[in-house]
Symmetry: C2
Subunit: 138 residues, 2 copies
DNA sequence: CTTTGTGCAAATTCTTTGCACCAAA
DNA sequence: TTTGGTGCAAAGAATTTGCACAAAG
C-alpha cells in the first residue's frame, strides 16, 4: 500500500522533505494514473486542503520531476501533464475525449539510427494518437 | 525546385488560396527544415514583409496543419514548432543546444499492443532526447 | 458586391516570480 | 535562529479573439 508513511519515506530517500503538501501531491499521483494537470490536482486536493495554492503544486512538481520521482509529459501546448508512473512506457491520447492511456511495450527499442550517428540518446517520449475504444464505438 | 509557382500550386491543390503571406510561410518551411516556432518565422520573414503580423502566421499555420501540409510538433510546453516535412519521422532534441534533428527510420512499426486492445491508433509522435554530436564533444 | 484574408490591439490562459509569513531542524 | 516551504498577488509569455480595413473573385 502507498500509505502516507511510505510516501514520506520515498520522499526522504530522494532527499525531499516530506511536507503535508508534498505528500498529498505524490499520493495523488500514485493513486491517479490519469496524467493530471496542475489544475486537476489543485481542484481535487483543495477541498481537503483549502489553503493549498497552485504555486505550491507547481513548486512541488518541479522538485519531483527534477529528482525523477514523477515525470512531466508535454502532450499539447497548453498543459503539462504529470505522471506518477516512472516505468518506461508510451502514451496513447484519444483525440476525441482527451483521455491518456499508458502503453507498456517490450522495451527492446534500440537507440541506434544508422542515418543519425553520434547522437547520444538518453530517453524517449512516444505518443500515439487515435480513438480509444469508447469513442470509436460511438 | 520549390518555386513560388510550385508552392502556389501545392496550396491550390489543398484548397487553400495562395496569398503572398501563405506562400512566404510555406516556402520558408520548405527551405528551413529547422522546426521553427511562429516567432522565428516571423523574425525571419518580417524584414522582407514589414507589414506581416504574427496573427497571420498563426492563422496560416493553423490552416496548413489542418489540411495536413505542415505538421505542428509540441516539444516543450512553451512553444509550438512547425515542420514542413510531412514524411513520417521521429525527432531528436538536444537538451543542451535545443536543436531538433529529424530521424528517419524503418517505419515498420506496428500499431498493435496486446495489453491495450481496441485502440484505434492513427499516428504517432516520437521524441528522443539527449546530446547532439556537437554538444557531446564539448 | 460579396466573400475571404490580414493585422492591430486587447484578452486569455498557463506558468513563473517576488516577497512576506510560517514551520521545521 | 537559520534554513527551507508555502501561498498570495503580480508579472510574463505564447496564443487566441474581436474587429476594422484590404484584397480577391
Amino acid at each position: 500500500m502507498n500509505s502516507k508513511k511510505n510516501i514520506s519515506e520515498l520522499l526522504l530517500k530522494n532527499g525531499i522533505r516530506p511536507s503535508v503538501q508534498r505528500i498529498a501531491v505524490l499520493s495523488y499521483l500514485h493513486s491517479h494514473y490519469t496524467h493530471p494537470t496542475v489544475d486537476v490536482i489543485y481542484s481535487d486536493l483543495s477541498p481537503e486542503m483549502p489553503t493549498l495554492s497552485r504555486t505550491t503544486i507547481y513548486n512541488t512538481l518541479k522538485l519531483f520531476s527534477e529528482s525523477g520521482i514523477v515525470k512531466c509529459i508535454t502532450i499539447d501546448e497548453h498543459h503539462q501533464h504529470f505522471d506518477g508512473n516512472i516505468n518506461p512506457h508510451a502514451h496513447f491520447i484519444c483525440h476525441n475525449c482527451g483521455t491518456i492511456e499508458d502503453i507498456f511495450y517490450d522495451s527492446t527499442e534500440k537507440f541506434n539510427f544508422p542515418q543519425n550517428p553520434n547522437l547520444h540518446i538518453e530517453r524517449s517520449e512516444i505518443f500515439y494518437y487515435g480513438l480509444c475504444k469508447k469513442c470509436y464505438n460511438i
